[in-house]
Every structure is written in structure tokens, then in C-alpha cells.
Symmetry: C2
Subunit: 266 residues, 2 copies
Amino acid sequence: MADLPLILVTNDDGIFAPGIRTLVEEVKAFGRVLVVAPDKPQSAMGHAITIHSFLRLQKVELPGTVSGMTAGVEAWSCSGTPVDCVKLAIYKLLGGKRPDLLVSGVNHGSNISINVLYSGTMSAAVEGAMEGIPSIGFSLMDHGIEADFSQVRPVVRNVVANAIKQGIAAGTCLNVNIPRNQGTALKGIRVCRQAKANWEDEFETRLDPGHKEYYWLKGEFRSEDQGEDTDVWAVNNGYVSMVPVQYDMTAHHAIAQLNTWGHAIG
Amino acid sequence: MADLPLILVTNDDGIFAPGIRTLVEEVKAFGRVLVVAPDKPQSAMGHAITIHSFLRLQKVELPGTVSGMTAGVEAWSCSGTPVDCVKLAIYKLLGGKRPDLLVSGVNHGSNISINVLYSGTMSAAVEGAMEGIPSIGFSLMDHGIEADFSQVRPVVRNVVANAIKQGIAAGTCLNVNIPRNQGTALKGIRVCRQAKANWEDEFETRLDPGHKEYYWLKGEFRSEDQGEDTDVWAVNNGYVSMVPVQYDMTAHHAIAQLNTWGHAIG
């Protein structure tokens, strides 16, 4: 048992979301499972960590399924962000030992394109990569709490099996997005680049009972990138998208132009 | 006056931090200034945005200096994260109009290397880049509330003047880190790549009055990247580091290997 890979599971929708239960059920076949996930929804928390307050961990039982597939899994809920969960798992629960694999999700909602930056799900995977752990974020493009995860399961099995067998390039993790179940079979997995896209945002203004304004963010995701090598194209055409994501954010192509600036100070 | 560039200023230490006042004082010479910054410290919030709650804006007076350098500046405090501040500035206060320049900081503390991912200061600049705004994050490598910003001022003037004159490459922003004042002149500005480094973390365990454990994150930053083209090398050798940062996180070099995986599902 001790020779089986140790798989760390986290997410950003919270430890009691159906998506993480699906993920646990599928990765259980590959090794021992440690779940450390937020005690409340932490969507769109990006790479936030908790430094102005303390953190708590609480051992919990994952809600069992009919088949009892989550039995025997060690699970902890954490008061912090998804990245806090990864740090606590490694540096508190595992005493500095790295798990053999980190999987994050399955997110209830899309993390294609620039959403990789906002996503707590993906930030946990990026943190895993920074710690030298092969890491994968999975997202289902359906926000609903009752989303249908049946098409997600074989995708998780495929990607996890490949990641364990072939490894993931150092300094990178994987961003896997699965289209919403529309009753047709998925065409396969396409390796993609992150599409160029943006959020056209809007704030809905409301008045509180004391007549003071407050604002709710409402955004519309827009991609005008027509590339067939993008994640947006893939999921819009019946494929699962898989983007290798790196945490070296250096824009190497921009260095030459900046070197023409005057760099003496004063 | 309407022809002067509109400069949006934000930070992650909060609107009343000395660092943002320094930045406002320096950029005022280049145009009209709109400040939208968090109403409390938001360090290490990464690219987090507020979607499970609402946001507030409150018009404030920036604390004036002896010379009154912050007079005439429109300033708003925001209940959200640094990225929320950028979105509210554009989509609420400016009605969708993009400012001509965004500057974030001056952060009280370092944002070299992988800290670009955790940093609220830099995430605000990245958000600016995503909105097509030339954006720069400035950080002074001194956490103290009484940090000496005198060496920061000419750096801000140099970089802002260049950015206005020469522009910043689309899809990128700048991460500028200034060494702590050690009584010697800075050697100049070096264009760098993000150093390969990591945080060796630790959690300090304490007991609350009810004897329940809680944890404080304590980390140590470690860079073993010896490259003289890195930001770590630059700041350790008396230079200001300037890294062009991109929000396309695709690891293009990893795509070929992933294409060898089996991609049929099931």
C-alpha cells in the first residue's frame, strides 16, 4: 500500500462539491488519496494565499456515494484558499514530502483561456507545479451544482494514467477543460494553447436599505481568437482541451525592445 | 487638461500606505491621476476577484504631504482586491474607457521571481495588460511601513517616461523591483527574466484559548538560479530589475511531448 502513488486532491468549489467527489472516485484507482480542500467556495481566488490571518484544518468524512467510492480516503477541510490547501498539505500534513501527483477540481465551470489566471482550481495546480509535483486541473464547463460528470470520468482516467506513465514537463501543469454534456460523445483530447480572449465586464449597481450603492460584477467572456490550436476552439468543437501551463510569466519576446530604453536612473 | 494622459493608480497594501502616495506624487507630473485602491491590505491576493459578494467604492482624500503633492487627485477606496479595483475603475468609474497608463504599488516588499504570481500589486498590472492598458507594477524590497522611498522616485520617473514615450508590448506589463536603500546609488535598471526560485514554507502551529490548533504560514524564499539575466541577480547586485510579464501562460515548449499521449477517451 505504501508503494502506491500518493495523490493530493484539492479544488476551489469547496470540499463538499460534487466535482471533487467525482475526482476522488476516479483517482482512487491510481493510488492513495489525500484530500485537502477549502471549507467554502473559493472560486476566482486566483493565486491568493493567507498571510494576514491564520489557517485551520479540520478532518472530515467526504460524503459517501451509493457505491462507497470515497470510503478510506483521508480528507481535510481548510479555512483558506486553494493555494493554501496545497501548502498545508505539503508542509503541515505531509511534513514537507511531495505527493506523487496533484489533481484539482473537477471545477464546476470553465477555466479556458485567460480564466487560468482567475481560477482557484488552476492556481492550486500551478502551485503544485512550483513545488515540483506533476499537477493537473480539471474543469467541467457547467456551473450547475447538478452538473453531469459522466463524461468527465473517462477523461480523468485517461489524463491521470498518461501523467503517471509519461510525466509532466518540469515547470508546467495541465489545464484540462471538458465541454458540458450535450448528449453526444466527446471527440477526444486536443493539446492547445491558451486562446487570446477577454472579459467584457459590467457592474450592476444596487441600493442597500440605507440607500448606499453597492456593485455586483457581471462579465461576458469574449474570444476573437480564431486559432484552431486554441482551447476555445477545441471545446467549441466537441473536444476536451488540454493546455500546458507554465509559471514562468517572463515575456521573453519583449526583452529586446525594453533594452533600447534608457536605463540610467535620475 | 483633458488632453493629458489619464493614469490609474492602484496597489495591494491599501490606499493609505506610504508606497501608493509616493507613486501618486511621482506620476502626477505625467497626467491626470485616478486612484482606486483597496480599503485594507490585500497583499498576496494574487489575481483574486470578488464574485461571491458585492463591492463598495468610497471617495476619499489621500493623506496630503507637506508639499500638498496629492491635492487635486481623485481617489476611491474599494472593498475588494487589487484586480477588483482595476475592474471597478474601468467599468464603473470610467464607463468602459481605458486609462492611458496603469501603475501599481509602490509595494512595500519584493515581488521578484515567482512572487509575481502571489502579488496583488502585480496581478493588478497583469489585469491592466489584459485590458490593453500599458501597465507597470513597482515594488520596493523593504516591507517596513517606514521604508525609505527616496531611491524609488527617480526609478518611477524613468520607467513611466519611457512607457509613455515608447509603449509597452501588447499582452505584457512590467514588473519593476527596487532594492532597499542601503546608502549607495543604484547602478541602473536591468531588463531581466523571472528567476527560477521557490518558497520553502513552514507552518507555525499555535493553540487557541480553547486548545484548538491554528497555523501561520512562514516561508523562506530560495533562489538557486545563478543566471545573471534574472531579477534575483539584478537586485542582489545593486540594480533595479525590470521583467516583462505576459498573461499567456501556455508552455508552448511542452506541447510536442503532450501530443505523443493517447488522446482517445475511454
